[in-house]
């Protein structure tokens, strides 16, 4: 007997492929079986005729582009509307596509407008919509083979498709068809031998779609699929009940069994783990991978997560939905390259460090790729964006590093500087190469030109992967770029923004190449791509509110009520919903949602314009069909938290509807929570662990310290972390908290009295504020991580340095001209204004905010501050004559030979016989009316009240050290006054010079040095608010807890003593 060929129409390609495999496994011949979806058959029939008419292929991006062009010609909004056109074009494209799919002509639409909306405002909107639709319709009709034209082309082409005459077509009865597709099936049945495979038990379960009546049915046990049907296991009673009752009123007795599980998990990742664990248990009880599936309602987000997990666990899977091309490495690299326009530092460095760039080709084979060094250089040089910024910053960096390398006496240091300079040069070359490429991606050009420029940029900057899939992915992205040239069908010229929009849409729409589907593998894919694929075990995750079903919003351009009125006006028919007719027509066990027989195919020459309710009903049908695909076990789940926003999620109403159908009554939150299972890791067995991380966690939770030690023996990093954790939890202040233990020969690193290197008073004040910061900043020399950022204001340091500069220049000029104190007169005010203006202008050339308005605000603020200071100086009760400014001690020569200076550091003897050496810069020394000297230190920060019992570093260390230094410089003069001058707040903190002595200073210093020498570098959580090093230290709350917990440790006692005034 020869082979009888036939076509088999299945709801999805996945179902078609599996049917073929199952037929083969039953020993049936496959040579003549052509399994496909209905739209694929329509394409095969319509294609020759459509191509003959010169119609071009269609994609969704085209409709958006055409809608956008229509918007340019016929404005929908007033010209001054600030709303961006892109999102409006997307909404418009959907509206106009719905009109086309429903078979509405622009003329028909125009004729109905006055009847659609009673309000003038709405009529105006609809009139504009008619004009937009005319443009849209004309641009597509007879030019592109859009889905509507394809299906209608197939209907028209049936008479010429002679090859169908001797080829029976078998159709499974669970197809979900649009009206135009139903029309095609009915027409097909008139031209070919079409048979619907009828499954007797199922036919009674729900109302039949209208097309069933027009296609002769053959019982499945009389079809070529009888052997498959005979082999099918009938679904569990519980599942049958769920399928029948979903979305129905629920007031029935509880009749649950083990066939459905309602599951939740904390996050999507935990949900995926939980589902895979359940599938592994199913596999353990003998269900084959090929008999299980994961149906993802919205695959774009979850598919990669599941694929990664399955691949990691070595579970074979058959992927039925494509991952978008946009997720591949070359596509992501292309997007990163396009993000570099404007040369923002973060974008450029992300591109350089993430994209597969052919550095050897670009820089030459001897170039070193120093990604981390480039990143450091970018930050250090303070680059924000723009070609000029990059060029200037990197060129000056190369010059500076080269000069430093020349000056350096130490060969290792010189080599380091030279390497850094070379890296800066390489980075500069890359920027020089990148700039013309990016410059070319702006303005307007023809689509051909854009495709050419992008192809060049892509080929020059992005390498293909090394394996076969990597190469295919790269080629596919290149093809997508090349395809852009074909867009000139819609417009001759385009801006790059338009090009980027189309390119982005294409990358998301195109499927990425994938490895050959494995046989005997777990099925995974989007719900729509696995329709009709009957399996023993099915999991449907992602049933969270707003996720699945998604939010259905009304179309703002053609409102639901207008859509219904338009349909009525065109067909003369009123749409009646199943639910409304249900009580009279529906049999008790029938699903109202599947009842659409009110629309007969014979009169359905146009589709209904879908409303929100239609889309919702459609989603319900899809969900009900999906749960009906399981015959033995169904797992429904949702994640309780949105990982992106951290917000709690509720189960979707599909989930609650399924729970209600399962239990026979609606459930409130508490009952639902009792029904839903959630994995508790502490209740899982070791065999349930999916990976080594879970296994170790299990052992840790049950095995206690012994297990931790056993795990640590094999994992050095874990051991390091465990030690730190235990040390920080202990009551001792340890090396993991800030204790430093050094051998005697290195003690000079932490004990300033063991070294001759001079200290500054401000350095000791850092220690008093936070010992740990001192350790990071002055011993380990770790810079705080900084991110060059757009500047909105001066930093505190810049403000301070500007004040010091202006005050010094002003007072020096005053001293050198009339020598008198500050007086509030025109002359001195003019002098001050000139100096301020000059200083501000110099700053403006370099490191100021780049926005003129902010510069102006900052300058105004600074001027006000300096004027306040000037007025306070002029109004002083006992005016003194400014003598010296920025007077150095222990810092070498003074800036001016005429100014005094103490060349040697100030040496202070400690009670234990050791010495400390100090250096510093005294802001100002004045001569008072009684001839004594006045020593002051400007403070440009905020004034804070001095606490009585603790050491105030500036008052108790800095000023006494300055007073001692002045006494050494001017042995014949008396220091009559010393104080801290808070210039912003106009407050002073005086110190009585009579009470300052080397002995009193030594007592304070001795305690500090003693704590340092003992290695007590204690974190002070109270200082975290103003500290830039907090990234190294952890949460202030945790630091506070540890501080309390370890308060009895002697090292903490030493540190506390150093902070107390003797």
């Amino acid at each position: 007997m020869g082979i009888e060929p036939y076509i088999l129409i299945a709801p999805s390609r996945a179902a078609a492929v599996r049917l073929r495999r199952r037929l083969a496994s039953q020993g049936q011949a496959l040579a003549g079986v052509y399994a496909m979806r209905l739209d694929e058959l329509a394409g095969k029939i319509a294609e020759p005729a459509l191509l003959l008419r010169g119609l071009k292929p269609w994609d969704w991006g085209l409709s958006v582009r055409i809608a956008r062009q229509a918007l340019d010609r016929t404005p929908l909004l007033p010209a001054d509307s600030p709303l961006p056109r892109g999102p409006i074009a997307r909404v418009l494209a959907r509206t106009l596509s719905d009109l086309r799919a429903a078979g509405v002509t622009p003329k028909e639409f125009e004729a109905c407008v006055s009847a659609l909306a009673p309000a003038e405002e709405d009529r105006t909107r609809l009139t504009r919509l008619v004009a937009l639709y005319q443009h849209f319709h004309l641009a597509i009709q007879d030019r592109f083979a859009d889905p509507t034209q394809m299906m209608r082309g197939a209907i028209d082409g049936l008479s010429k498709a002679d090859w169908l005459k001797d080829l029976p077509v078998w159709i499974t009865d669970d197809l979900a068809l649009t009206k135009v597709a139903q029309e095609f099936v009915v027409a097909l049945a008139q031209h070919a031998v079409v048979r619907r495979i009828e499954y007797p038990p199922r036919a009674q379960e729900r109302n039949a779609p209208a097309w069933h009546a027009h296609v002769p049915a053959t019982r499945v046990d009389e079809s070529p699929f009888q052997s498959l049907h005979a082999a099918e296991v009938p679904p569990c009673a519980g599942l049958v009940r769920l399928v029948h009752q979903i979305f129905e009123p629920q007031l029935r007795p509880d009749a649950r069994d083990e066939s459905v599980a309602f599951v939740s998990a904390a996050t999507e990742a935990a949900e995926a783990m939980s589902i895979v664990r359940r599938l592994l248990r199913e596999a353990e009880r003998g269900v084959l991978w090929d008999e299980m599936g994961i149906l993802l309602p919205r695959g774009d987000q979850a598919l990669p997560l599941y694929c990664d997990l399955l691949a990691r666990l070595g579970i074979p899977y058959a992927l039925h939905s494509p991952l978008p091309l946009g997720r591949t490495r070359p596509a992501r690299a292309l997007r990163l390259l396009l993000r570099c326009r404007g040369l923002a530092r973060e974008a450029v460095l992300e591109f350089l460090s993430s994209a597969p760039i052919p550095f050897e080709t670009l820089l030459g084979s001897d170039a070193r790729v120093s990604l981390s060094l480039w990143d450091t250089l970018g930050r250090e040089t303070g680059i924000i964006a723009g070609q000029l910024h990059w060029m200037l910053a990197l060129r000056s960096c190369v010059t500076r590093l080269g000069a430093e390398a020349e000056r350096s006496d130490e060969e290792t240091e010189a080599a380091r500087l030279r390497a850094k300079s070379a890296a800066a040069e390489d980075l500069l070359r890359l920027i020089e190469l990148l700039t013309p490429i990016l410059d070319g991606l702006a303005g307007r050009a023809s689509w051909f030109e854009w495709a050419d420029r992008l192809r060049h940029a892509f080929a020059q900057w992005i390498m293909p992967g090394e394996d076969e899939i990597g190469i295919q992915e790269w080629q596919k992205v290149r093809e997508v770029i090349a395809d852009l040239a074909g867009q000139d069908d819609t417009a001759a010229m385009a801006s790059f923004d338009e090009v980027e929009e189309v390119l982005s849409a294409r990358l998301d729409d195109e499927a990425c190449p994938r490895p050959r589907t494995e046989t005997g593998a777990l099925h995974i894919g989007e719900l729509k791509d696995m329709r009709g694929l009957a399996l023993r075990v099915i999991a449907i995750p992602g049933l969270a509110e707003g996720h699945y079903p998604g939010l259905f919003r009304p179309d703002p351009l053609l409102l639901d009520a207008e859509r219904e009125r338009l349909a009525i006006a065109l067909t003369g028919l009123h749409k009646t919903r199943g639910a409304a007719r249900a009580s009279t027509e529906r049999a008790p066990t029938q699903l109202s949602l599947f009842d659409d027989s009110s629309i007969e195919p014979a009169i359905a020459t146009r589709d209904w314009l879908p409303t929100v309710q239609d889309r919702l009903d459609q989603a319900r049908r899809e969900f009900a069909q999906a749960i009906a695909q399981a015959s033995e076990r169904l797992i429904l789940s949702y994640a309780r938290t949105d990982a992106r926003s951290g917000r709690a999620r509720l189960p979707s109403f599909f989930f609650t509807a399924a729970a209600a159908a399962w239990t026979g009554r609606p459930l409130d939150r508490t009952e639902l929570a009792l029904l839903v299972e959630e994995e508790r890791t502490d209740q899982l067995s070791l065999d349930d662990a999916l990976d080594s991380g879970e296994r170790d966690q299990w052992r840790m939770e049950r095995g206690g310290p012994g297990a931790a030690a056993a795990i640590a023996a094999a994992h050095p990093l874990f051991e390091q972390g465990r030690r730190a954790h235990l040390a920080r939890l202990s009551r001792s202040f340890t090396t993991h908290d800030g204790q430093i233990v050094l051998p005697a020969d290195l003690r000079g690193r932490i004990d300033p009295s063991a070294s001759d290197r001079p200290l500054s008073a401000s350095r000791l004040s850092v220690y008093l504020r936070c010992g740990y910061k001192y350790l990071l900043q002055h011993i380990l020399r770790l810079d705080a991580p900084c991110e060059p950022d757009e500047r909105a204001e001066m930093t505190a340091r810049e403000r301070g340095s500007l004040f010091h500069e202006v005050a010094e220049r002003f007072l020096r000029a005053l001293r050198d001209t009339d020598g008198g104190p500050v007086r509030d007169n025109e002359k001195q005010r003019a002098l001050l204004a000139r100096i301020v203006a000059e200083a501000l202008a110099r700053r403006g050339e370099t490191r100021w905010p780049r926005f003129p308005m902010l510069v102006e605000i900052e300058a105004r603020g600074f001027l006000a501050e300096i004027e306040n200071w000037f007025e306070r100086e002029a109004q002083a009760e006992e005016p003194s004559r400014p003598l010296y400014f920025e007077v150095p001690f222990g810092m070498g020569d003074p800036s001016s030979p005429t100014d005094p200076a103490l060349l040697e550091p100030l040496r202070v003897a400690l009670p234990n016989g050791a010495h400390l050496h100090f250096r510093g810069l005294i802001d100002r020394i004045d001569r008072r009316a009684d001839g004594s000297l006045s020593v002051r230190d400007y403070k440009t920060g905020k004034y804070r009240a001095v606490e009585a019992g603790t050491v105030h570093a500036e008052r108790d260390l800095q000023i006494p050290i300055y007073v001692e230094a002045v006494r050494r410089m001017f042995p014949d003069a008396r220091v009559g006054e010393a104080f801290l001058d808070y210039v912003h707040d106009g407050k002073t903190v005086p110190v009585d010079p009579e009470k300052v002595s080397a002995e009193s200073l030594a007592r304070v210093l001795a305690r500090i040095v003693s704590a340092m020498a003992a290695g007590a570098f204690v974190p002070e959580p109270g200082a975290c608010d103003t500290c830039e090093h907090t990234l190294f230290c952890g949460s202030p709350n945790l630091l506070r807890w540890r501080r309390e917990h370890k308060q009895d440790d002697p090292l903490l006692g030493l540190y506390r003593a150093a902070q107390e005034r003797p």
Partner: protein, 151 residues
């Protein structure tokens, strides 16, 4: 036998007087939500309003979810009851079919739904979504930079 509540007359008025507006002030656990469900049921059964013409606004998403569940339970009870007149059963069935898109929601979601239906009139982009805190900060930063650049 349960004694009638002292405010039963007031409750009856709230349930049955569809043409009147009420402000109900009562402590937690006294049955405010139940009374609202009663009133919605009355509005639907009597034909004064379809479910899609009613807005029930709650303070939290949890409360909205709970209210929807209770409303579903009530409507299903009406449909199942043999005492329900035919016309009222049909109205309840219609309401049940529309329940999933009924405005039983938080104030934020209600506002969002109004904006979604009339975005152009309200001056927002169609297809907008409510930004979370991180997105809002990023958008603010972007708008701030653009504003500064223009000055």
């Amino acid at each position: 036998m349960k004694a009638p509540r002292a405010d039963e007359t007031a409750r009856q008025e709230v349930r049955g007087k569809a043409q009147r507006s009420f402000a109900i002030e009562a402590g937690a656990g006294t049955g405010k939500t139940t009374l609202l469900i009663d009133r919605i049921e009355h509005l639907i059964r009597s034909g004064h309003a379809g479910l899609l013409e009613i807005a029930a606004v709650t303070f939290t998403e949890n409360a909205a979810g709970e209210m929807k569940l209770r409303l579903r339970e009530r409507l299903e009870g009406v449909i199942a009851s043999h005492d329900t007149p035919k016309i009222e059963r049909r109205r309840a069935e219609q309401a049940l079919a529309e329940l999933d898109r009924a405005t039983v929601t938080t104030l934020h979601s209600l506002c969002s739904a109004i904006l979604a239906e009339r975005p152009f009139e309200c001056g927002v982009v169609p297809g907008f979504r409510v930004a979370d805190e991180v997105e809002a900060d990023a958008l603010f930063e972007q708008a701030w930079q653009e504003w500064l650049t223009e000055r």
